[in-house]
Subunit: 266 residues, 2 copies
């Protein structure tokens, strides 16, 4: 959420145009504030049913915002003029589950059997937490959110299976109820916490050693609160080792025309 | 919800066993009260991605409770011991969108490429409305709920498209806010209303002539309240004219082990 103050008030359309022209190849937190950003997963059609089913069964780690029919690269719901092949600042190309390279557009790679999945991102609920004066430590410390692989199994679907990955935000006890209420409103962006308190209960040994992201300060009176994390679907797809998978490069998200507030259910 | 008082307290497992043995070939409203009942749609695999995508895009009319992998006939989430091929009192067999016949089990028809979809049903939220002393007219009058084809388009997905079908419950003005709050908790069973008031705004000409179900009394001071209806996905599938489609016979539902309360989101 930090940085890019000059672009915090740009519209999503203007931002996507900058990205499309190759003039913005940086992470997107803090740009076009108020608008929902989305995670990207593109898979060949033969993997699409399994992945769609996996998301249906695991909506907290895999909250689908939009899925495109095979071959389609224009969104209909999240934005009216977007082209998924070049409106994301940076893409990761994986073959058989291994990162091959990062690229600025995927026009030359595009195939008629590609199915595009766009998934909700916790940036949306963090904005709502901050508005309610609930501290978000990794933003205060200008770090990436700490993420941990848990012992909570996702519900498998066909070839897709794996443990849930969670993000952690330490909170003073008197803020936990409100933070739970606020994030419950945002089911489309991971929703309510999956665990509050003792990390060992969900298989996390050491909060200071996250599996992804950065460790953050946890103050004496604070309790760790865990939310399902969008890294889960990516980890699950990589484990299934598809011939090809394209994702956004972490932090380099798709910027939608939907206000975060439009994603709230209540 | 009426009738079957002697079976209202039977467990879902006992009820499914009665059905499996062919000892119950009647509608299921009012049996195993408190437990969620589900709509059934079975399609050959080649239609499954489109239908799953249609449900993802239209969660209010098509709230998925469970989807089984191709060929699977045992549920994992809604019940631990159920066999979808004979645990439903009566099935409708459609070919190319036309009803061919109704049967008591589908074991002889079963194919390894069948994909089973179980969808939420408004019986679940009606029980919650009744508990809050909100009148449900068609239950009071011992009728089927009135349903109407609207001019609200569903979001199409591949070969699947069509208008939303809604159910209507007339309410006194001072009950509408509470009814909206209560049904909002049940996103997995159609959720909050899609329209309140003037039926002509959603393309309904005459409330006394529902497209499905029975007309009900609307008292002078009452306002019609409309919810998305589970007939929508069936109408959409029929319109797509698949080679084969199997559904439950209307009113003859799958009885799950999940309490309606377990479906509530808040």
């Amino acid at each position: 959420m930090a940085g890019h103050k000059n672009l915090s008030r740009v519209t999503p359309k203007e931002m996507r145009l900058l990205i499309r022209k190759g003039k913005w190849v940086k992470p997107t937190p803090g740009v076009a504030m108020g608008y929902a950003q989305a995670n990207l997963v593109i898979l060949p059609e033969k993997y699409a049913f399994d992945f769609l089913l996996f998301c249906q069964r695991n909506p907290k780690p895999c909250p689908l915002l939009e899925v495109l029919e095979p071959g389609r690269f224009r969104t209909a719901f999240l934005a009216s003029d977007a082209d998924i092949r070049n409106d994301i600042p940076k893409y990761n190309i994986y073959r058989k589950g291994k990162l091959e390279k990062a690229v600025k557009d995927i026009k030359s790679l595009w195939s008629k059997d590609f199915v595009t999945f766009l998934l909700g991102c916790s940036f949306s609920f963090e904005e709502a937490l901050l508005r309610a004066k609930i501290p978000v430590r990794h933003i205060e410390e200008n770090k990436n959110v700490p993420m941990y692989i848990t012992n909570i199994p996702c519900k498998p679907a066909g070839t897709m299976h794996g443990p849930m990955v969670v993000s952690m935000r330490p909170l003073p006890p008197d803020k936990i109820v409100r933070a739970t209420q606020i994030t419950s409103r945002y089911a489309a962006v991971h929703g309510s916490p999956v665990h509050i308190g003792d990390p060992s209960k969900i298989g996390i040994r050491n909060l200071n050693r996250p599996d992804f992201g950065d460790p953050v300060t946890i103050r004496k009176e604070e309790i760790p609160v865990f939310w399902a994390c969008g890294v889960t679907p990516q980890a699950v797809v990589m484990e299934a080792k598809p011939d090809l998978c394209i994702t956004h490069t972490p932090g380099h998200m798709f910027i939608s025309d939907l206000l975060n507030e439009e994603l709230a259910t209540l």
